[in-house]
């Protein structure tokens, strides 16, 4: 069971990376299609506010677009039944695009971060909130927009009520689709995968198709030394190759990106319109990307055997200031 969860977590993350690749490919397509740069969608701006922390006055940044990106440990074909099967958001990252400063800031969110999560009753109504792992917030609800809304609420509460404009969630089973759209990725197998697919023996060079891609990036325990590290090396090689192939296909065929979008639609839940999503990414393509912020805190193993991460208040405050506020120059 644990192994399965680990496979699924890794795969969810992989899908997310692929989604990012896709978005960038979408941006490239727009660049070729249009001579004029696309303008970013105008969003309602926050009223200018100030606050003082440790003797420093901060002003709320304006012109921000915040997107919560999630990788969901849930197959897209599985319909959620009841109130509790939305799937965990095992990967969460908040991306804050500052169009005024031309900067992209990011916050890594540990899936085990303890946060106030909306809890549903057995008939599906919100009955209150309580503290639990933030990855579980998405698990409440329908696995679609409702679940994403609860996940967004949990992250907003974690970040002292800061507003999150949009969410983008991808289920884990889009890997094979994207792989095939890219024409399949050719790899030389350093390990033996024949337990999963007889054609995938050690030393073989083959172009991965369909489920083979998923096997290649997800399989671990019965492959080679069985470590996460070895699998990560494999995943990075695969992603580099896939990225190159996607870019190549986009350059050859302007319609390719649209095809990819359509194909990935069953695996994607977002409240960001397709065009808006591409525009946001495209508008930020030359922005400075700051290193992702990580909350500091303590990991504990609870009595029930599950990991819990408790970020410090100071760390949360610093993250909120860095992402959403700027010091006022004297």
């Amino acid at each position: 069971m644990n192994r399965k969860k680990q496979y699924r977590a890794a795969a969810a993350l992989t899908v997310l990376v692929l989604a990012a690749l896709l978005l960038f490919a979408g941006g490239s397509w727009l660049e070729k299609r249009s001579r004029k740069p696309e303008t970013r969608t105008e969003l309602p701006q926050e009223t200018a506010e100030t606050m003082e922390v440790d003797g420093v006055t901060y002003r709320r940044r304006t012109d921000l677009t915040t997107i919560l990106v999630m990788g969901i440990d849930h197959d897209s074909e599985v319909e959620a039944e009841g109130s509790y099967q939305g799937g965990q958001a095992d990967f969460q990252r908040l991306i804050v695009i500052d169009s005024k400063d031309k900067t992209v800031r990011q916050l890594k969110i540990d899936r085990d971060t303890m946060a106030e999560v909306t809890v549903l009753g057995m008939l599906g109504n919100p009955v209150g909130t309580t503290q639990m792992q933030i990855s579980l917030a998405h698990g409440f609800g329908d696995g679609k927009e409702e679940s994403c809304g609860y996940a967004r609420d949990a992250v907003s509460r974690l970040l002292q009520g800061e507003n999150i404009d949009f969410y983008l969630a991808m289920s884990l089973d889009g890997i094979s689709v994207l792989n095939d759209l890219a024409g399949g990725v050719t790899v030389t197998l350093e390990d033996d995968f024949s337990a999963a697919d007889p054609a995938m023996t050690r030393g073989t060079t083959l172009t991965l198709h369909g489920d083979q891609a998923e096997i290649f990036v997800r399989r671990r325990m019965d492959v080679g030394e069985g470590t996460n590290e070895a699998r990560m090396v494999r995943q990075e090689e695969y992603l580099a190759q896939l990225s190159a192939q996607l870019e190549s296909r986009v350059q050859q065929d302007q319609q390719f990106t649209a095809q990819v979008y359509d194909a990935l639609q069953p695996y994607l839940v977002t409240d960001l319109a397709k065009g808006q999503l591409v525009n946001e990414v495209w508008a930020a393509k030359d922005d400075t990307v700051e290193p992702a912020i990580t909350l500091e805190g303590e990991h504990k193993v609870a009595e029930d055997g599950f990991t819990e991460f408790y970020p410090t208040e100071d760390s949360i405050q610093k993250a909120v200031l860095a992402l959403f506020w700027e010091p006022v120059e004297e």
Binding site: L16, N125, V127, Q235, V289
Partner: protein, 187 residues
């Protein structure tokens, strides 16, 4: 230094992925978190002389049957005592089956049934009174099961719903029953 976002963000994602995969440990699911658990104690002097064993069961099928029946056949608003005309949404926070084995349960014995879960923790305040339905199954000659319901009051103590009953009440429920905790949601 300016970087092309597609390269940098992709790299960041890959690094993020690596860190997360390294940290991949068993993570809790919502099912783990919301699952109710129960316990029962017979207290007081009369409890000592009573020969009774009340146990909480993990019977998902029975719980599902009770929930289906409640949704179809029970006026939950009436059950929680919502005033006429006031539209409140009522939800179920926990459904916990119990089994009673007794040969000499005294009517005046005190029995405490306790139900806990994260849903309960989220739904109620400490010391809040909770409307609890007791679903009692009856099996007909053709094998179909129907339920009758009695309403009792529980109280939230240390984040758990505690239902205090007398021996005569428990005897009236029979050997199997399910406690169903309700929550009225305003608005």
């Amino acid at each position: 230094m300016k970087k092309v976002i597609s390269v940098a963000l992709t790299a960041a994602m890959v690094v993020g992925m690596g860190v997360s995969v390294l940290a991949a440990t068993p993570s809790k699911t919502v099912a783990d978190e919301v699952k109710a658990s129960g316990s029962a104690t017979v207290t007081g002097v009369l409890g000592i002389v009573s020969d009774v064993k009340v146990t909480a069961k993990e019977d998902t099928a029975e719980t599902e049957e009770v929930l289906k029946d409640i949704v179809s056949n029970v006026d939950l608003q009436k059950a929680v005592g919502a005033s006429e005309g006031k539209k409140e949404t009522v939800d179920v926070t926990a459904a916990q089956p119990f089994e009673v084995q007794t040969s000499n349960l005294l009517d005046a014995a005190n029995i405490e049934l306790t139900v806990e879960s994260k849903v309960i923790e989220a739904a109620y305040k400490e010391n809040e009174e909770v409307v609890v339905l007791v679903a009692v199954p009856t099996t007909k000659a053709d094998g179909t099961v129907t339920y009758t319901y009695q309403t009792v009051t529980g109280k939230v103590v240390n984040g758990k719903i505690v239902v205090s009953l007398k021996g005569r009440q428990v005897k009236s429920f029979g050997s199997n029953f399910t406690l169903v905790a309700l929550k009225a949601i305003e608005g």
